[in-house]
Amino acid sequence: MLFTSVSFVIFVAAVLLMYYIVPKKWQWIMLLCANVCFYLQAGVRGAIFMIATIISTYFCSRMIEKAFDRQKLAMEKLKDLMTKEQKKAYKAKTKKNQRMWMVLCILFNFGILAVLKYTNLFISFTSLKPVNFILPMGISFYTFQSMGYIIDVYRGVTEAENNIFKFALFVSFFPQLMQGPISRWKDLKETLFEEHSFSWERFESGIQRIIWGYFKKMVIADRAAIGLATITSDFSKYTGAYAFLGMLIYAVELYADFTGGIDITIGIAELFGIRLPENFRQPFFSKSLAEYWRRWHITLCAWFKDYVFYPISMSKKMNKASKWLKKHVSTGIGQRFPIYTATIVVWFVTGMWHGASWNFIVWGLLNGIIMLASQELEPVYAKVDGKLHLKKYTAYKVFEIIRTTAIVCVLQMLDYHRNIADAFRQFISMFTTANYASVFGSGMFNIGLSLPDYILLLAGVIIMYIVSFAGREESVRERLSKKSFALRFTIFLALFLGIAVFGVYGIGYESSQFIYNQF
């Protein structure tokens, strides 16, 4: 069921109605049933994998929790009988036991993901034939969400949930199954299971966000997708200015598609009274790539930071290695070694997460490398700034924003090309093929987009920028909520009618899926 399908809208409406009809203490059970329906209609086979993840994670988390309980009990009972060393040994033993459960759980679940998603990547090293697995819906998202949970339980950040059905709801919450955000148990454990009474304010706010999401998705992203599909259909034909145009169109498409999808997700959750974490914070106002990654797909990046970056860079072994390098090679390298290693690992895995092919891995690594490079260049910038005081000029800030946008756009070329050679060739051709005059004169209208389409896209981009800009301090919807009802209504009626008229749907437009469903 796609977000843009009529059946999805009907499904949400039906679930919503039931949700507020049933006794409040059953609301979460209602939601769980909705998830089961949602997942089963996508195929029973996929559901089996999710159930395996739920059961295994639940079981391991309970085992870890029990070890905590045993230890607590033992400490209380045997407080006076044990020596300090004995206590320490007992704790270490507990930790070891817990660690085993966590590792087991992670190996099992990432094992499923690896087999289903990455088998063909491994096969590409051999002469074997690729196999055709159908990926269960949302597997990358719910696996990450579950593994975050088990690590948090192991770390003692959260307690393990007693009720497997509650845990199942956390893993399978249907609006976020298809494209995130990747939530944490500690953020959802209350909001998911609380009793929610219907509120008009919240309803309006949710609907607003959903409409805005659909507008971005159907009017902007799906329109951009038409042009991009033409360009990607033949890279040998669409070079130079077309490559440049394709790069811009993809940036617009990805942003509108992904943020639009998340708006719909968060909006739907809001209708149920559930608050999901934000996934974006005006990413295209970032002044550096590192900042961009703190503002784009926030929940994924936070996941990697907490569960990959810190554990690697702060580990005891890394500490030892760093010390050794400082002593035997140089202080600089010793200092950098943990950060560099962790960064490269994180970005390698981030690339892998986005897709089981080399273009994504290279894309991830280049992101990491550029960020490290800019870190290294920081002192130089500081020096220059110390002399010229550039930072106080708005123009310089704008320059930084454009620079970051350019880097993001160029790197994304690896994303939609799916083939490293094509991406590089297209990139080079932007500078070597001198067809800018003809393409921007007439050629751009031969890729499935007419002048009115371009005008609409441009208007869409401007609207998105304005909305982003207006939402820096306080979210646009909060600002709007202070305005009169008539104004609010007019704005969202305009958006709604905009979708009805300008939306890319129906015969004559190819239906397109959310880009992020593939990950």
């Binding site: 290279v362 290294e376 083939n419 490293i420 050679a421 991406a423 590089f424």
Partner: protein, 172 residues
């Protein structure tokens, strides 16, 4: 300073390395796509008087070689719309064209009698076995026809009482 140049060098090596490995992969890819496009654009081709007639080929290229059809030329407008079916009546076959991107291209070739043969040697009146031995057994059978699809075209033989009654090359 040294550090930076090291990083720069590292980046460059990486780029070169990537383009290099990408390059070899790219040529592989290029040749396969070329092959594919060749396959899709031709399919079965009818040859007459040394002129090849393929589906979706420009009609003008063919008529300029074959000359004006003796049976004349006819155009039929679709009801209500601008579309137009055009017919060139050659002696033993009829060429039908339609507009694609503003150009007349071949829509179908229909045999009118048993004086013409397909490139593979089949003519009206031949037995079904002869067809299947010439074209193989991977055909679709529907409506009293056996159809061989290739690329974006289909070659259909109507069979009645074990004999071919019509032969048509056309857009799928």
């Amino acid at each position: 300073m040294r550090k930076r140049s090291l990083i720069a060098a590292g980046l460059m090596i990486l780029c070169v390395g990537l383009t290099a490995c990408g390059g070899s992969k790219g040529t592989d890819n290029g040749s396969t796509t070329q092959q594919q496009s060749q396959n899709t654009s031709t399919g079965y081709v009818f040859t007459t008087n040394g002129v090849n007639i393929a589906i979706d080929e420009k009609v003008e290229d063919i008529t300029s070689k074959l000359g004006t059809p003796k049976g004349g030329y006819y155009e039929a407008k679709s009801c209500a719309f601008d579309g137009m079916d055009k017919f060139w009546y050659y002696d033993s076959f009829t060429l039908q064209g339609y507009q694609k991107n503003g150009v007349d291209v071949v829509y179908s070739v229909t045999f009118m009698d048993d004086t013409v043969k397909t490139k593979e040697g089949i003519k009206i009146g031949d037995s079904k076995d002869k067809v299947t031995s010439a074209y193989g057994s991977s055909y679709k059978e529907e409506n009293g026809q056996i159809k061989y699809e290739s690329g974006n075209m289909v070659l259909s033989f109507a069979i009645k009482d074990n004999a071919v009654t019509s032969i048509v090359y056309s857009v799928k």
